[in-house]
């Protein structure tokens, strides 16, 4: 059963990666030019950034690329000793001192010196055509396999993997603790509410519904406004005090916990409600099963009867964990942004607002990976708690 699940998750990962590969290349026009246009609109795209864009779309270093927005000769960057521009894919001949090439917009543009590295007169400069899409795709997959997610346009042209590596541990820590807490608390309260139906604990139901309806974004803003800005109980954001040096002493760990508390409570609050309502509804159904009645009739202590029922009612919760975890992750990304918590959400916000496409896609792939691994863990737990699942298929 687990092997089938692993195969399925690999397929899901492949689909996600494929979407993220082909989507930018489906945009009408030249992907490099359109990407450069968007990127440059936000800020200066340095030569390193241009190179990153070219590299991403498989255009080699000896290609001259139109730098937007102004389609003038001066806007060409020439690297590696050749000039040429192309949408047509036809070779261009470089004349004495000038070269006429067709720009990505279809205009004909004359390149003149002082281009540092104009090729010798008479040589034919062929466009460094990008390899076919399919070849690129497999190169991309191969790169992914080696942990290569490309280079960030900004952020000092760091490899995306390095950037994600510095932000991911914060997210995983927060996500792990908060999800486990939310699951345990939500499930536990759900059991109690179902058991004492019609009792005083029923007021939790509208409460949970409300928390489920509040978007995590707004909830975290309210938390900041109340507990950090107004009451000054907890810090408004960040992962630790700027004055603290990261080290493993008590003071620093205290600062870490201090800063993690509010975001963690927020994540627990909005994700707990779903677990609770689901568990309560399932528990109500399970309580009517015959085996619960038998357990009760045999005179087992109430606590044990609840445990028998709860164990069985919990199965759908675990089975549906994949849906829950997607929502929790989505919510947590937004929580991190509001709290300036240096996790993947914060990085994603920077990447999205700065149009740092390789970073956006790298983060997408990594989040998908994290979610799928979490799903796999939930599956493994499911097989442990329900032996029937292991025997199927």
């Amino acid at each position: 059963m687990l092997i089938r699940r692993v195969a399925f998750y690999l397929l899901a990962l492949l689909v996600a990666v494929t979407v993220s590969f082909f989507l930018p290349r489906m945009v009408p026009g030249n992907p490099v030019a359109s990407e450069l246009a968007v990127v440059s609109a936000r800020g200066e795209c340095t030569p390193a950034c241009v190179e990153a864009v070219e590299a991403r779309f498989g255009v080699g270093a000896d290609a001259a690329i139109l730098r937007s927005p102004a389609p003038t000769a001066a806007a060409f960057s020439v690297g590696g000793g050749a000039a040429g521009l192309f949408r047509t894919g036809k070779p261009v001949t470089v004349g004495q001192e000038t070269a006429t090439v067709q720009s990505v917009n279809g205009e004909r543009i004359t390149l003149t010196t002082p281009l540092a590295a104009v090729p010798r007169p008479g040589t034919t400069v062929t466009q460094n055509l990008a390899p076919g899409l399919i070849v690129q795709y497999f190169q991309y997959l191969g790169g992914l396999f080696q942990g290569n997610l490309g280079v960030s346009y900004f952020e000092g042209s760091q490899p995306v993997t390095t950037l994600i590596g510095t932000y991911l541990p914060w997210t995983l820590g927060l996500l792990g603790v908060a999800t486990v807490l939310a699951f345990v608390l939500g499930t536990g309260i759900g059991v109690l509410v179902a058991w004492r139906r019609g009792g005083r604990m029923d007021w939790l139901l509208p409460g949970a519904t409300f928390f489920q309806a509040i978007p995590p974004l707004f909830l975290s803003m309210v938390m900041v406004a109340i507990f950090a800005t107004a009451a000054h109980w907890l810090p408004t954001g960040g992962a630790y005090d700027a004055t603290d040096q990261p080290s493993w002493n008590l003071g620093f760990i205290g600062s870490l916990l201090d800063h993690a508390l509010l975001p963690a409570i927020t994540v627990v609050l909005f994700s707990m409600a779903g677990f609770m309502l689901g568990m309560r509804n399932q528990m109500l159904t399970t309580m009517d099963e015959d085996f619960v009645l038998v357990a009760r009739a045999k005179g087992l202590p109430t606590r044990q009867v609840i445990w028998y029922a709860a164990r069985n009612a919990m199965l759908p919760s675990i089975a549906n964990f994949s849906i829950a975890i997607s929502l929790v992750v989505a919510g947590q990304l937004l929580v991190e942004i509001v709290f300036n918590y240096p996790g993947i959400g914060e990085l994603l916000f920077k990447a999205v607002t700065g149009n740092d496409y390789p970073l956006v896609q790298g983060i997408f792939v990594v989040i998908v990976l994290v979610v799928l691994v979490a799903n796999l863990l939930a599956d493994a737990v499911y097989v442990l708690v329900d032996p029937r699942a292991g025997q199927e298929a």
């Binding site: 989507l23 004492r196 139906r197 019609g198 409300f210 509804n281 999205v352 956006v360």
Partner: protein
């Protein structure tokens, strides 16, 4: 499931005899739970709000008070008169603090002097349109995929289930972000955003609908239709889908809730366009929250700027959840009994003590005696 087995006598006449159906059976068709009506009430309120909003707004939501536009501090703190933050040399700070709620501005103003109430009025429509549009498309998709998977079975089922499970496993928001950053028009058109949101939100509904279709497929009435030679499409449309209506409705509400959250998140990330950018995108609650957030309204205590859209989202979300609750109780009678308060339960004549093995099915609108006698209320579901 909803369809109660109608008494034989009402069926044999070639259709239900209107006289034979007791009038109180309508009570089951229209749930009377106060929850659902509170939900419907809130929803109707917001829909009216969205329709009249653009006509009753007192100011142009894009209006910027020129005198309020930021100034650049030349020297250190204290040189920008009326500023709200410590002026660091060279940084741009807001010139004045936004107005709090007052008679002229019921919800105060933004830091640029725009009227928050007018922004809220202009934002409701686009937000709801995107949400409902996305939910409509997603629900259609999930019905098509889920019902065909469940009804056709075999390889078609395998393929379609795999397809929806893959979509379910890929986390929605990140996929949404990748889609929205590339699909042209996502920043100006509510329709495009709605489409993208729908694309990421249909899979759960498809899964639920498939499961339910599987259980319906071999019921007697479907078998009967098959034996009597009805076409496959007709069976699906006339026999199966009507019995799925409560679940489809629930899935629609659930998706609407998801779509609002997704749209807000996209707008917050700056992917759904801005009304004061060119080309201009529509106003929505997410963009209001984003503008407040980026102008640090939260840490500055300007709550009137970001709380109203937040409350609006929470209220619409609660309304959807309440309506969903009503449908859940309608579909699963056990939840109906469990959701009662003690007093209401006593009135309905059932015990809510934690009795095991038996949860009474409450039929509102009937005398307790009738409920106890478990008279089948005919016409429980359209079948």
């Amino acid at each position: 499931m909803s369809p109660e087995i109608a008494p034989l006598a009402t069926v044999t006449g070639g259709g239900p005899d209107p006289v034979a159906v007791p009038p109180r059976s309508r009570a089951v068709v229209l749930p009377r739970s106060p929850r659902i009506w509170v939900g419907v009430g809130i929803m109707v309120f917001f829909i009216i709000f969205a329709i009249v909003g653009p006509f009753i707004r007192p100011y142009n939501p894009n209006y910027i008070d020129k005198a309020w536009v930021s100034v650049t501090c030349s020297t250190g703190p204290g040189t920008c008169i009326g500023q709200t933050k410590d002026g660091v040399a060279g940084t741009t700070v807001p010139l004045v603090q936004p107005y709090g709620p007052s008679g002229a501005h019921p919800l105060g103003t933004t830091v640029l002097g725009s009227d928050v109430w007018s922004q809220l009025l202009s934002s409701t429509g686009p937000t709801l349109i995107v949400a409902f549009l996305a939910a409509l498309i997603a629900t259609l998709l999930s019905v098509v995929v889920g019902v065909s998977a469940g009804y056709l079975g075999g390889n078609a089922d395998e393929g379609l289930s795999l397809f929806s499970n893959v979509f379910l496993a890929i986390p929605g928001l990140p996929l949404l972000i990748v889609l929205a950053s590339y699909v042209p028009g996502a920043d100006t058109s509510a329709v495009v955003v709605g489409l993208i949101v729908a694309l990421t939100g249909w899979a759960y509904g498809a899964r639920v609908l498939r499961a339910q279709t599987l259980s319906l497929r071999n019921r007697d009435f479907v078998e009967a239709a098959r034996v009597s030679g009805e076409g496959r499409l007709r069976i699906i449309l006339v026999e199966v889908v009507p019995n799925l209506l409560p679940i489809i409705a629930s899935s629609f509400l659930f998706t609407t809730l998801y779509a609002i959250g997704a749209y807000i998140a996209l707008a917050f990330l700056g992917l759904a366009g801005a009304p004061n950018a060119s080309p201009a995108g529509p106003w929505n609650w997410g963009i209001m929250i984003q503008q407040a957030y980026t102008q640090s309204a939260i840490n500055s205590g300007w709550w009137w700027w970001w709380v109203p859209p937040g409350i609006a989202i929470a209220l619409v979300g609660t309304a959807l959840a309440l309506m969903n609750f009503g449908i859940d109780e309608f579909v699963n009678p056990r939840l109906r009994a469990a959701g009662l308060t003690r007093r209401a339960a006593r009135q309905a004549g059932i015990s809510v003590r934690p009795t095991l093995g038996f949860t009474e099915v409450v039929r509102r609108g009937e005398a307790p005696a009738a409920a106890a006698a478990a008279v089948p209320a005919g016409g429980g579901g359209p079948s």
